[in-house]
Point group: C2
Chain length 453, copies 2
């Protein structure tokens, strides 16, 4: 079986480097929020007036104070009452304290963080977006945060090193800094071709005691695009990437993705539905996908990245449901850790697949009616048509009676690679999707069962 | 906070003994399906004509051959085309081979098992219900199964020991036999009070290499009740118990619950909606709940039972969603293993709670319209009203600013017990529900990552 990864040919090339797009400054510093003394305050500043901004937030009912404040600020700068897009002049991030489950006091603390940043940068506090990650139920140490913000503001750099420093300060238990960049060519008003940079930094989904596995990502571009158009590009990109990422199935109180567009590269504004929008959307998705894969690979205790590629589904929603179910299965994750080409667990996990929520399906591009009809429904699978490959080895073909004989030693050897690709062809239609996860290891349990509260 | 377990006062007392209700024979034998040589074939036979039967099956798209055959047989003996109820003269169980993902050959094998039982017992093969659990993708060894059926048929006993033998033969990796029994008083036609026995046997949710965590349960009673009435008692009982059971979140290809009623105790037929139906339903639910708790406690690698009790939800569907989310969270399960009174993870898990599928909500008693409106929707939670207790220690009160100070050493000590009770009062309404799970341990990962295929 040769199953091609969806849109593999159309995907822009991504490099794992910190490349700061034009129109931004960035930096990071150690403010002492983290006990380790490592960098924990990051700032990203739009230097040519407010940038167009779009966001995707956690669906968790316990959304943390930074999430609620960011939503409110975006809503204050646009006509989108849901806080999905608007304008922003800066992003501030604190690592080490999630400021979640801290009630009204936590809300006031986060607002004070905004005032501190506004004062340092001379901007309106409603133009500031907030990220926090770390311990739940603890108050932000405002004095240290204030000193950290002042320190970062004093060393902001319109250079790649500034973005690298911000990425470093975003980390919690991440074993590596997560950065990704790509570029596309967009036309200027005079028809000249302008190179546009799309870069992202991210943390997660590693965990910091005793918080949950927070996922934070910030994508920057120097393209010119209206906030609502940017949002319409971000949401389907996130639905195909971050929404398909599972480390342990829990959604954090603080999960956030921001995309900011400075518009200073000189390209013409990207119009909704245009070829430029398709290019920019593909670039954002490519960066999102690469960051999501870095996040999955660095899952707590993980030793390998698991990518599940599903083709032949009735539609993309079904394909993504199956891919997500496979990479989320504790049994599949354990088998991957044990280098066990166990197709029975993969088939069983696929058989449990349920499509995403209405909100995610709408974000992915389905109409409200379509999303309502397809939301949270079992994926259509016919065992007699299913084909499964593990690390390139065909192991199951429903059309040929099911289990295939295969070289188990060779399959095990292939599973020693840093990435395990599990392919399912449902044999039913044209739907495709991917899921990203990691193996389940003893280390995950040990780290998460240590007494930490 | 004193949160009372839902319906605790109304719940019939359950004992963990094998008590065979009147009108049945049972037995088990070792047929050599299991490599260990332990008992692996079980038979339960209705001795006074076909018993009323009701069933709940796995929703997994890869339903195994025994599931499909049982559905078909029940459908053939009733007007319920979904195979939820009908009449049955026997239940046959094979442990060690799931007969799942075996295609048309597996279907033929399972039908042959039915013919073997029918021949031994002199009954119609459509009156036989099937259970199988074990390795996926392997064919049933029909010669051994046939010899095993003959052996069991030769030693069927209308005694408790026969039911105990059947329970023993149901086991796979279960560390203990799972049995439960209770009794109620129902009126006879002459107004006399008749003692009715309701007993159950079960296996799971331990795993057998390389299969998934199959849950099998059989409940027997000597009450007299029509199949459709029995189904209407079983479904809400299962929705409140087995559907709230989570060991690792995966649903097996073979999960099955059967309830058989012989009707020979002498009580008057239980009419739908009657007081007797309420009593019988409560007895079935009590046995189901106890078996589900035994199954959770014996989850693979588990060292403790986790019970989550939710009160104050908008409705029961929300309460069950939150309870299930808490006991399903890998982070909560790891914290429980580490004796960490980590309310942040509990709150976070609750914040991710999503109500059950439409099918489960309908089974639980909601109308089709209600179930459609409430299915797979986020549970309503207000962080400012939520209260959480861990092992009896109040740790969070949203109305009092959130985190409470508590004696962590004492809480840790309380968490050393064999059962951890996590209580959440959502402070919103009268909805209640429970969830049953177990801790996530290094042993789970080690067992499931060993190479087994």
């Amino acid at each position: 079986m040769a199953i091609t990864s969806p849109a593999a040919t159309a995907r822009p090339t991504v490099e794992r480097r910190a490349v700061l797009p034009a129109g931004f400054q960035a930096g990071g510093a150690a403010a002492g929020i983290k006990a380790s003394g490592r960098p924990d305050v990051a700032l990203i500043v739009a230097t040519s007036g407010p940038a167009a901004a779009a966001a995707v937030f956690t669906p968790n009912a316990f959304a943390a104070a930074p999430v609620r404040l960011s939503r409110a600020n975006l809503a204050a700068t646009s006509d989108n009452s849901r806080g999905g897009f608007g304008f922003a002049s800066a992003v501030v991030s604190t690592s080490g304290c999630a400021n979640a489950a801290t009630g009204a006091a936590g809300e006031a603390d986060q607002a004070e963080v905004g005032r501190l940043v506004a004062r340092q940068l001379g901007i309106d506090e409603t133009r500031i977006l907030h990220l926090s990650t770390g311990i739940i139920g603890s108050r932000l140490p405002l004095d240290r945060v204030g000193a950290g913000i002042a320190a970062v503001a004093g060393q902001l750099a319109a250079e790649d090193a500034g973005l690298a420093a911000a990425a470093e300060a975003l980390r919690t238990t991440d074993s590596v800094v997560k950065v990704a960049t790509t570029s596309i060519e967009l036309p200027a008003d005079d028809g000249q071709s302008i190179t546009i940079t799309v870069s992202g930094i991210a943390k997660g989904v590693g965990m910091i005691h005793p918080s949950m596995a927070t996922m934070l990502s910030v994508v920057l571009t120097d393209a010119s695009v209206a906030p609502e158009v940017l949002w319409d590009l971000l949401r389907p990109a996130a639905a195909r990437t971050w929404d398909q990422l599972s480390v342990d199935g829990d959604t954090s109180t603080n999960d956030t993705v921001f995309v900011l567009a400075s518009g200073v590269a000189g390209a013409a504004p990207v119009a909704a539905g245009s070829g430029g929008a398709a290019l920019l959307g593909a670039a954002i998705e490519a960066v999102a996908r690469d960051l999501a894969r870095q996040q999955a690979a660095d899952g707590e205790g993980a030793t390998i990245l698991i990518t599940c590629v599903v083709t032949g589904a009735v539609d993309d929603a079904d394909a993504r449901a199956v891919a997500r179910a496979v990479v989320s299965s504790s049994l599949v994750k354990s088998a991957a850790h044990g280098k066990d080409p166990n197709w029975g667990r993969i088939a069983g996990a696929a058989g449990n697949a349920v499509t995403a929520s209405q909100a995610v399906l709408e974000a992915a591009g389905l109409s409200r009616d379509e999303a309502s009809a397809r939301a949270s429904s079992p994926a259509t699978i016919d065992p007699d048509r299913l084909r499964i490959s593990i690390a390139g080895h065909p192991v199951f073909d429903g059309g040929k009676g099911g289990p295939l004989s295969f070289d188990r030693a060779a399959a095990r050897a292939s599973m020693e690679a840093a990435e395990l690709v599990i392919e399912l062809d449902l044999g039913l239609g044209d739907g495709t999707g991917e899921g990203f996860g990691c193996d389940l290891t003893e280390a995950y349990v040990i780290e998460n069962s240590e007494y930490t509260t």
